[in-house]
């Protein structure tokens, strides 16, 4: 985060408030205390718990067949969700930042719904629509298609939960950039696809990548919505977060925290990539 307001000039009268050394130290100290106790200690606790029975047990837990299956299913869900929401996010951002049309603001509000809806409610909505109690569900059942309590249902609710992320990253950036470069490319004879690939994409690539990273993090970690539609069948419809829950309910603390370390490591990686991408975007903006 840039701190461009830091004044370097030495003027006799006071220019900013809050720069008294005691206040400065107090506030920075408080910030460290809060971040340390609320964020850093829990993070350390995850790894400490996982390794509390030794490295051997850690590996045994990690290579457990149900854990491996949960990892595989989680990766499958992310692999299907992320591309779908990537394509949707780019089209929606293009639509609302490059064209004026009636209903534009409504579209931008609708896209926020997944942020406001409780994950459990999201899962329930899909269960009601596609579960065996609805006519859609019974039609699907007649055709031997099961969406709920099976992996397709998990993918569907994950798409719902994560659909705003890419669009949300792109829209403010594309609004700021405007469309003059794209119009110039077109007037020079570029086709629509050429314009997108050569002009739009290079301008938005860091924000796009960041949207993808966020979508992926949430897709891998979603719990509430997925637990409603999954049915929690070990070795079948158990994603990694659900697996963590199952082990925890079984009083297998070390096992639960072992799977949790994978998710925590991914979260840390997400933060590192985020910091890097922000830095890149600042570079390319200046």
């Amino acid at each position: 985060m840039s701190n461009h307001k830091t004044s370097l000039s030495k003027v006799s009268h006071q220019q900013r408030i809050g720069d008294q050394p005691w206040l400065r130290r107090l506030l920075i100290g408080l910030a460290f205390l809060l971040v340390g106790s609320l964020l850093v200690v829990p993070l350390i606790a995850i790894f400490a718990q996982a390794l509390s029975a030794g490295l051997n047990i850690f590996w045994v837990n990690l290579s457990d067949k149900y854990t491996l299956h949960a990892i595989g299913l989680t990766l499958l869900v992310a692999a299907l969700t992320v591309p779908l929401n990537l394509v949707f996010g780019v089209f929606l951002a293009w639509l609302v930042t490059r064209f004026e049309f009636p209903g534009r603001r409504i579209l931008m509000t609708l896209i926020d719904i997944p942020f406001a809806v409780s994950p459990v409610v999201a899962g329930l909505m899909y269960l009601l629509l596609y579960g065996s109690n609805s006519w859609v569900g019974s039609w699907l059942m007649d055709h031997d298609l099961q969406l709920m309590f099976a992996w397709p249902g998990i993918v569907m609710v994950t798409v719902f939960i994560t659909c705003p992320f890419v669009a949300r990253e792109l829209i403010p950036l594309m609004q700021q950039q405007g469309s003059s470069e794209e119009e110039a490319a077109l007037s020079l004879g570029a086709s629509g696809w050429q314009m997108f690939r050569r002009v739009t994409l290079p301008n938005i690539k860091w924000a796009l990548l960041y949207g993808v990273v966020l979508t992926n993090a949430r897709a891998v970690g979603e719990f509430g919505a997925v637990s409603v539609v999954s049915g929690n069948i070990r070795g079948e419809t158990n994603t990694l977060p659900l697996h963590v829950e199952l082990l925890y309910q079984d009083y297998n603390l070390v096992g639960a925290f072992t799977s949790a370390t994978l998710l925590a490591a991914l979260a840390l990686l997400t933060l590192v990539v985020k910091t890097f991408l922000e830095w890149r975007q600042q570079q390319s903006a200046s």
């Binding site: 900013r16 910030a31 606790a45 942020f115 994950p119 409610v121 999201a122 909505m125 949300r168 977060p241």
Partner: protein, 292 residues
């Protein structure tokens, strides 16, 4: 300006230029794909919930949503969400202030860590907090000596909500604080105002809309929080059950109608809050600009 903070960017929609209607390609295609996607993924399932709820008689609906155990869950959810989001207002303001106004070693690290609650899966946060605050946990041991029990009480719910919604206030306030006009501050100081007055009369009014937005977003998030809460809450009926857990309980009893009725209550509460705070913020910002 932070180019990419994790959530709402309602504050960044500064300048929207009306751009060429027919000049740029892809209107029909992007409209078609967006509408298809939004209808299938968002609106169709939403309508499923409405249809299910509409199928109930008013008396049945009322009986389900005002059931005494459910009422107790509203109470504990609302109170703890309110406490957590107000606390977040304070913590978030402090962190944003420190990150924007001061330079110190470790600043980038703190800035990056603030987003951890959004990146860490809620179930992981839940089991971690439950373990830390349990009677044998690192925090629980010390608190037990003081006679404070956090795990398996409403206080645990508050801690879990505080954790999961921590980034909202920081990330809403931070960009606004970075863009503050330092001239106003300097002018007020040179006119003889003391620090506290400058903060209260000059800086705080400019931060207010972003602060309220952050607090309301963290309140909405807390209302619906499930994964982080259920592990630490203990889930005792009438005492520490949150409303999203009640939906889950009704589902496990295969009472879909009751589950949807309760879901419709929190859904409406969150959507009304979301729209209200968006409208309020737009108006406030307009007034702020108009007065300049």
């Amino acid at each position: 300006m932070t180019p990419a903070s994790l959530l709402p960017k309602n504050l960044i929609s500064k300048s929207f230029k009306v751009t060429g209607r027919q000049v740029l390609p892809g209107f029909a295609l992007s409209l078609g794909i967006s509408l298809l996607f939004i209808s299938l993924v968002l609106l169709l399932p939403l309508s499923g919930l409405l249809v299910q709820t509409a199928g109930m008689s008013w008396a049945d609906y009322w009986a389900v949503v005002t059931d005494s155990r459910v009422m107790a869950s509203y109470q504990v959810t609302l109170l703890m969400a309110l406490g957590a989001s107000l606390l977040n207002g304070l913590v978030g303001l402090l962190l944003a202030w420190v990150l924007v106004r001061y330079t110190f070693p470790g600043k980038r690290l703190i800035d990056a860590l603030v987003d951890l609650p959004f990146a860490l899966p809620t179930a992981v946060a839940g089991i971690t907090l439950a373990t830390l605050f349990s009677a044998q946990g690192w925090y629980g041991q010390g608190l037990a000596k003081l006679g404070i029990q956090v795990a398996y009480t409403p206080l645990g719910i508050l801690i879990a909500m505080l954790f999961t919604s921590l980034p909202f206030v920081v990330r809403n306030v931070q960009p606004v604080m970075e863009d503050l006009n330092s001239g106003d501050e300097e002018a007020a100081l040179s006119l003889g105002a003391n620090d506290w007055t400058v903060f209260r009369r000059v800086i705080f009014p400019a931060l207010w809309p972003a602060l309220v937005m952050g607090v309301v977003l963290s309140f909405i998030r807390s209302l619906g929080e499930f994964g982080a809460v259920i592990f630490i809450a203990g889930n005792m009926p009438y005492l520490s059950e949150v409303t999203s857990l009640m939906i889950f309980v009704r589902l496990q009893e295969f009472d879909y109608a009751a589950a949807s009725a309760i879901a419709s209550v929190i859904l409406m509460a969150s959507l009304v809050l979301l729209f209200a705070v968006n409208i309020w913020q737009t108006r406030y910002l307009k007034r702020l600009k108009g007065s300049q």
